[in-house]
Amino acid sequence: MSTLLAVEALESGYGDVQVLWGLDLTVEAGSITCIVGSNGAGKTTFLRTLSGLVKTKSGSVRFAGADVTGVEPDAALAAGIVHVPEGRRLFKGLTVQDNLLLGAYTRHDDGIMSDLEFVYATFPILKERRKQDATTLSGGEQQMCAIGRGIMSRPKLLLIDELSLGLAPKAVDRLSAALVDINAGGITILLVEQDVMTAFDLAATAFVVDMGRVVKFGATADLADDPAIREAYMGL
């Protein structure tokens, strides 16, 4: 496998508050990789730095052979880095379909409608509800819509922040199965997740982040047996 994303010594934060303190991480092309860690570890800030919402202080980000360090959100998107933000962040007042089409906002190719059909085939409930306000959907359906909106951007790498937050276990199972399908279709996935069990079920490789750095990484099968991980993050 080849490396799709290579992050070295990344530092960023908000104003005077630095959150990432030299984060190193690689994501292999075609993989599902997860980042786990406690509240405030810097997981969300890391994704926001990758997608250009948070300014990079120093370090480097290489993606698919190109330098994308500190680029603006539209350039990150153009490179193929698509961020499904925490809390879904669907656009209120717009229908499910209009939300999905906003995912394709920068695209001018003629594959938009076939991608829309793919999203509807993956999540049939979205097709049924395509004409209703996206924020009236249930939590699980909103997450489907947010992921679908991400797919509409034609990602090479899909960043998903907190897949399972606030969702029923059944909805999480449904979304996990969909992510496996989406990944099988050739989209690399980087998942940030507080629920370590869910994350380890999905991902082959995991990075443990604490205090803005990667403190441990490896195959999820190995990490799941690591007593320190079991105690700190799985409550076992």
Binding site: P73, L77, R89, L102, T106
Partner: protein, 285 residues
Amino acid sequence: MDVQTLLNGLVLGGLYACIAVGFSLVWGVLNIINMLHGSFIILGAYLAFFAHAAFGAHPFLSLPFIAAALFGLGYVIQRGVINRVVSSPVLITLVLTFGLDMILYNAMVLGFSATPRRLALDMGRIDILGATLPLDRIAAMALAVALTAMLFQVLRGSRIGRAIVAVRMDRDAAALMGVRVPQIYAITFGIGACMAGAAGSLMSVVFPFSPAMTGLFLGKAFIVCVIGGLGSVPGALVGGLALGLIESMAGALIGPQEAVLAGFVVMLALLIFKPTGLLGKAGYE
């Protein structure tokens, strides 16, 4: 209420809707109370007047060019100046647009003088159910409502419209869709100025105007937004028609001197009892 008062009110109301809709859009999307709006309207009226005086251009024909020119002016002002402080508290942008308005207002006094002007067209008049209405007013009102409907369609059905709504709802999430937020801000402010310019060129055939009236029209835009509810095109339309009817009824009942006052009284009452306005809700449609 007799038919004449009702029709006068509706004609006035259609123009008020067109005056207010751009103001409402800028307020709703950018959270900027644009003090320049009244001057944009008067500038549009002057451009129509001079296009008519110099080239004999009919104001309904020069309107698209005036609207485009005002769009450009608005775009440049937002892109070059207001975008620098757009995320600041509303008072900062208010003071900035107030200052820009003083420049534009005084430039118009210098350039056009304070003498009231009027573009007299006289397209004839028609009788409707015993009431008499000049055709130029009816045409101006119809165009104003058509322009308002067009803006509604653009916001609802176009790619740019979806981006504007997305930016209003969630700036960060819109940026994640690849929307260039500063550019959408500039386009939105440009559309606001464009609607003001179009409204101004329509007003020029209905009312006499001078630079001293910028505050009057700004006030009307404000009242319409409060009555109809901020943040939607239908709100501006309802608010505009309501203000038109209120003023024409007040004019008939208590005299034209007090008609302007009536609008402000209704606005204050709504602020006390229903501050969201008649159609007010979160979300721009």
